[in-house]
Symmetry: C2
DNA sequence: CGCGATTTGTGCACGTCTTCACAAGCGCCT
DNA sequence: AGGCGCTTGTGAAGACGTGCACAAATCGCG
């Protein structure tokens, strides 16, 4: 399930806060999901909690980490050191979660040789050597859209079977290769849609939560559609 | 539906390529979805294609843009001008899709006054004035996790009802406020999970697609779980 | 004017995900 | 040792999204 990483993050937070055990209710509300769903997820991966007590935080962290394959630190190659690539290269949220940016690549030779966060930018043609040397298991594409497909092909050709794509385009890859896409503009457009919908609710409950403070700070609401 | 933005992007690409009309099959394969699903989506929003011909590209672009509320250029405020915030501020993919980054804010006073992409960083305390002046409709949080909730509260307090959150934490907001979360580390962890699963398929069809070229460049595969 | 090719729109069935509700199990207190 | 409260694990029902298959509609051509 794609919720496991969220559970893991919440568990780490709980562990840092000193909690030894959590009830499904507690963890569920921390993540913002139904407690039954959480229990089903956890039971589905074979994890054992103790009835009447809850789940052992440390144990659960180990379990989920194991299932996610985070016991080893995975090396990722980042292709495209433009605006976004730069930020990703410097983002410390990766290292702290078991990922190591092992290589920076770019097609622009004027960028090759540049140092970012202690890592040198190499030319994308060196991909085969880099992948072999660093045992890359994940490729991140942060290039402009027109270049993305070619980069994906190159990644696939050298054996990378997991790709995170930030370019706003659909990648076509062979079966067995997993692609996840993150398109920042699409996220904004979805928000725009909801904003538009809220605005055109003419006869609706106009501005329910105007008065001063933030009313009813509920748990994170799920946005359908 | 959250697929509309993807349709829209594909349609723009088709329009640039000079196509006047598209069949549902054509558009569906461009986006990587089932054609029946696409037709259902389009019919569900009341859009009219002509049978035997297909959809008018320009008309469909207008329809979808209208539904998404992209007829007006929406102003977004970006809070947190760190590594990621910097990249987002400079990302040109927003402007080209109908969004204008109208304000940059940060809590760190040593960053205030800095110029990024022709925009000056202002202190987050100026949020009320900024939102009023620029008629902000969407807030983007690119701060570290510990600061995210406070920023969200401030955004909500000044009337922002749509938030895009890049901080790795769950935000609690009043009802009526939409939050979308983008957590880069989670995306990597999901890929790690698939990678782990593929690796531990010991008895499986070992390396199905080794021989040279990329076999069967299927349409983008959907990744379950 | 009529026919066939083509493409949309949609009813129906299927599988998945979600949620409720409750039995089973565990620890603590007496 | 026994009972009680709390929490997990799970069966069943419902909601939702997905995909197939086909009727209705439109255009082009003879």
């Amino acid at each position: 399930m794609s919720r496991l990483p969220e559970y893991l993050r919440a568990l780490h937070a709980l562990a840092d806060a000193g909690h030894e055990t959590v009830s499904s209710e507690g963890l569920a509300s921390a993540v913002g999901v139904n407690s039954a769903k959480l229990r089903k997820d956890l039971s589905h991966l074979g994890s054992y909690g103790t009835r009447g007590v809850g789940y052992d935080v440390a144990l659960l962290i180990d379990q989920i980490s194991s299932v996610l394959g985070l016991t080893q630190c995975r090396a990722v190659a980042l292709v495209g050191v433009g605006n976004l690539g730069h930020a990703l290269a410097g983002y410390d949220g990766f290292a702290s979660r078991g990922f190591r940016i092992a290589a920076l690549l770019d097609a622009d030779r004027s960028r090759v040789g540049e140092q970012i966060n202690g890592l040198m930018v190499r030319h994308v043609d060196e991909l085969p050597r880099v992948v072999a040397e660093e045992s890359i298991s994940i490729g991140v594409i942060a290039t402009p859209a027109p270049a993305a497909q070619a980069v994906a092909d190159q990644l696939v050709a050298v054996g990378v079977t997991s790709i995170l794509n930030f370019a706003p385009c659909v990648l076509s890859v062979p079966e067995g290769v997993d692609v996840r896409k993150v398109d920042l503009a699409i996220e904004l457009q979805i928000l725009s849609f909801h904003e538009h919908r809220k605005a055109s609710l003419t006869g609706g409950t106009a501005l329910t939560a105007l008065p001063g403070g933030l009313a009813t700070p509920d748990t994170q609401e799920a946005i359908g559609t």
